[in-house]
């Protein structure tokens, strides 16, 4: 084997490190995308026996977005094999306990349940926020494109952008602009209930 061919083989079998920003992304759609990179399915030399899978680093797992009311409706089931030990945890509760778990399970379920799955999952690196492990950061050489566009919040927009946007609504001229009401004695229902409970 010539020196050029040898280097070519090293380059083709070297593991690439990808970065994926999960902010405002659906974990179940992005799980399918990430699994493609983890297995190396996008490579022309892919084979089930050849070890050509890549590493994927996922950041901002805490800021993942679910459609509609799915934070309440989606339920994670667990059974510890003892009778009566089954639990149903809603997704929002799972996310408060562990901000990485929803993303991890989404990638895990997107792959077939074969013997290789646990080993491919070892190549997935999840981080709750933007900070990455300093050992991993210099290895990253590619960024995976996000699926959904990240929406902008009105309160965080620069003022020039808000002012320069044209007026579309032609409101009725006799509309009286209301002033913001102030509620000095306002207290939330739950806080009131807590206080009353303590007094009793």
């Amino acid at each position: 084997m010539s020196a050029v061919k040898r280097v070519q083989q090293w380059a083709s079998f070297a593991r690439v490190w990808h970065l994926f920003d999960a902010r405002w992304q659906n974990p179940f759609d992005s799980g399918v995308l990430i699994a493609k990179y983890l297995k190396g399915l996008y490579k022309p030399l892919y084979g089930a026996q050849s070890l050509c899978g890549d590493h994927v680093v996922v950041i901002n797992c805490r800021h993942v977005a679910l459609p509609g009311n799915e934070w309440r409706k989606r339920v994670y089931f667990h059974h510890a094999t003892y009778p009566g030990s089954q639990t149903w945890t809603p997704a929002w509760e799972m996310h408060t306990r562990n901000p990485v778990m929803v993303m991890k399970k989404a990638v895990y379920t997107s792959m077939h349940g074969n013997l290789q799955r646990r080993h491919t999952m070892m190549r997935l690196h999840l981080f709750a926020d933007e900070e990455i492990d300093p050992e991993i950061a210099p290895r990253i050489s590619n960024v995976i494109k996000q699926i959904r566009p990240v929406p902008e919040r009105l309160d965080l927009m620069p003022e020039e952008k808000v002012k320069s946007f044209p007026q579309i609504a032609d409101l009725d001229k006799d509309y009286v602009i209301p002033e913001l009401k102030e509620y000095p004695n306002w207290e939330s229902k739950f806080r009131k209930m807590k206080k009353e409970g303590k007094k009793k």
């Binding site: 977005a65 509609g68 009311n69 007026q167 579309i168 032609d170 001229k173 602009i177 009401k181």
Partner: protein
Amino acid sequence: MFRNLQVLSQIGAFAARKIGIFPSQILRPFTLSSVNRLKEIHEKREGNNLTIEGVYVDLPKSNVILEKSFNNKGVCSICALGVEVKHTDVLILSQFVRPDGLMLPRRITGLCRKQQKRIGTMVTMAHKAGLMSNLNPTYSKKDPEKRGQWKKFKSYFDESTIGKRKPPKPEWKWIWKKRNFYEKV
């Protein structure tokens, strides 16, 4: 003014149908007072005299007005634009909203019935996603990440679900299957 124009145009169109005139002859823009203004109420006290007057104020962005959405004949401002609005387009949605975040009624927005329903639901979607948290009552915490339970997490919505209801599941009857079976045989 535009509201009155719309009413006039509707009456005009109705009359035209009876008489037989082409409606475009009646639907022409005319103004009796200054257009694109809002009202503000001022109170003045001089001794025992209290004077209350409604003063017309310019729209918040009267210098930047999209003329396409204003100079229309009997078409609401969003239909005239011909743009598909999404719940993430906060700059458009915030114009149809009171300073405490509630949707304005149709007599003030001047929208058609379909668009009023559409934009009203999209405003609630934007509020639930925490995209317009500065337009809220004074007692709110403003920061969507300070909300409780599932409300603090990010969620997005599908606009194609607006105004749609789930079709009811047909009741399954074993008789149907049996009848079909015998008919085939």
